[in-house]
Symmetry: C2
């Protein structure tokens, strides 16, 4: 059994090669660039962990892990174009460096490269291809819903969780399940592991939204209040718009379309007035509990589950 950090190292060794042909370099160097920007490699490692929960890690698992990481980078390249984002991991985005047409194509070849990795899979290849493709569709659906919801006035918490689940959680969940398929897991165990990943992903997003508003600036590493300044719909904002008093709601709505110098402080004040901070911590704990319950329900000996418990507690701070 390997801990998360050991698996990151093992994956990096496998993934460090060049993934694309040399020519045309005008296409493939931009595609290669984003793969070398790093990132935490959570998704491919989840794939390896899903495999190792049930059996020794196979060569197939490295191919699927690579495919998952390639897919993730494909979606980053295209999302950055759609969001007109200038930076990714502190470096210029592919389209900022090479223009949108090349970035679009670089994303396309990265998706195709993911499928080329899958063609190397020897066992369970049909099931792998099907789950991978279903998940790929869902991630695209999530991105579309995210864009649709930007224009929507009244967004319910349920709609938001559905969107977040598609946009971020299903890929985490599927990464685990793809590994489990390779490890020979039965259907029931696969489903529990998938739900563990899906709920953990939602808990992580709630925490991310929470820390953006209430995090310690020194620990968080990002500008606190970034989501507020960008008028982003987050767990906190959606709940506040529903729960705030009539006067606070009016104030919040006007703050969403104006930029006073003390905008962050004013919004945080309203958040605190209606107890959004405590609510978010509670909701995060609920999803974490739900995730851990699914992990408990997987029928393998407890020592095998240890790395996944450790990962959950590493990703999510507990509040009780």
């Amino acid at each position: 059994m390997h801990a998360f950090t050991e698996l990151v190292e093992l994956f990096e060794i496998h993934f460090a090669k060049r993934h694309f042909p040399e020519q045309p370099s005008t296409l493939y160097d931009p595609a290669e660039y984003i793969l070398r920007l790093g990132g935490k490699r959570i998704r491919p490692v989840l794939c390896l962990m899903g495999n190792e929960l049930f059996d020794d890690i196979t060569q197939d698992a490295y191919h699927v892990a690579s495919a998952v990481e390639l897919f993730h980078n494909f979606s980053l390249i295209h999302d950055d174009i759609m969001d007109k984002a200038p930076l990714r991991r502190g470096k210029p985005t592919v389209h900022a460096l090479h223009g949108e047409p090349t970035a679009l194509l670089a994303g396309d070849v990265t998706l195709v490269a993911a499928y080329l990795e899958l063609t190397k899979v020897v066992r369970h290849s049909k099931k792998i291809m099907q789950l991978f493709s279903k998940t790929a569709m869902e991630v695209c659906e999530g991105q579309q819903l995210d864009m649709d919801f930007e224009k929507l006035q009244d967004l319910t918490l349920e709609q938001y969780i559905h969107m977040i689940s598609l946009k971020t959680s299903v890929l985490l969940a599927a990464s685990l399940r793809l590994g489990a398929i390779l490890g020979g897991a039965g259907e029931g165990n696969q489903q529990h592991l998938y739900e563990f990943g899906r709920k953990l992903g939602i808990a992580f997003q709630i925490q991310d939204d929470y820390l953006d508003a209430f995090g310690d600036p020194e620990k968080f590493g990002k500008q606190v209040g970034g989501d507020i300044l960008a008028n982003k719909k987050t767990f906190l904002m959606i709940h506040a718009l529903q729960e705030a008093s009539a006067s606070d709601r009016t104030k919040l709505q006007s703050l969403l379309s104006s930029n006073p110098p003390d905008k962050v402080e004013q919004v945080l004040g309203i958040f605190r007035n209606c107890g959004v901070d405590a609510w978010a911590r509670e909701l995060k704990d609920q999803y974490l509990e739900g995730a851990l319950n699914h992990l408990e329900d997987i029928a393998v000996i407890s020592t095998r589950k240890k790395p996944l418990f450790q990962l959950a507690h590493y990703l999510i701070e507990r509040d009780k």
Copy 2:
């Protein structure tokens, strides 16, 4: 054995269903839209013909044919974004109707849908996936080279043929070969069929460039001189820039960056001066001959080849 037009009908019956889920309709209706704009369905039918050259058409061949048509539409959606094209098949492009972000995602899900069709393939699925993915990469390379060459001053005929081969011919060639794989063809026969398709595609492109300049406006159906007005690099333009007299070359270069009212007539005059028209007809015939020779070299009885010979003669006018 079926003729081309019969196979178009058979394919349309198979392809007429909805390909995407209903929701989110903001994503999937735009993706569905372009599939219903029609088109000649040449690529999927080539896949069926490749199969039938060697054996009865299988259910797998319809899945692969659908995947090929979905891939083609994916590339149209993304190419139209890159080229900022307002129209496709006489109708507004996906991005013109729904904006670039949605069109980008609609293209992405169309590519994933192509792979989902491939997951349904029962026999030879690994070989199919590999050739399909390799071809997908090449088509993207062709599009990148096309954009790179727009900025290039001196383009050789060899470079242009390489680009055209990737951008358009390899998908025609691969469609035939995918079908041949399903029909149980041996490696040698597969290669001859692939080269038949690749050379036929180049002959078709030469003819397309030729008709744009020298075609009968009534028969051609498009504005004659469209490529000239758009300063497009075509077989004719590249050859003329190499072969024209010094004074004609200077004139041609200045016409490429100006728009006098008689631009088309002036360029056509220079084309005729250096015999580009006869040269293009000759080159087209060479590629057609080459294609037909590969078809001759396939080791199956001649009657099986008849639909492919008919198709070649239907697509390409002979000049001798």
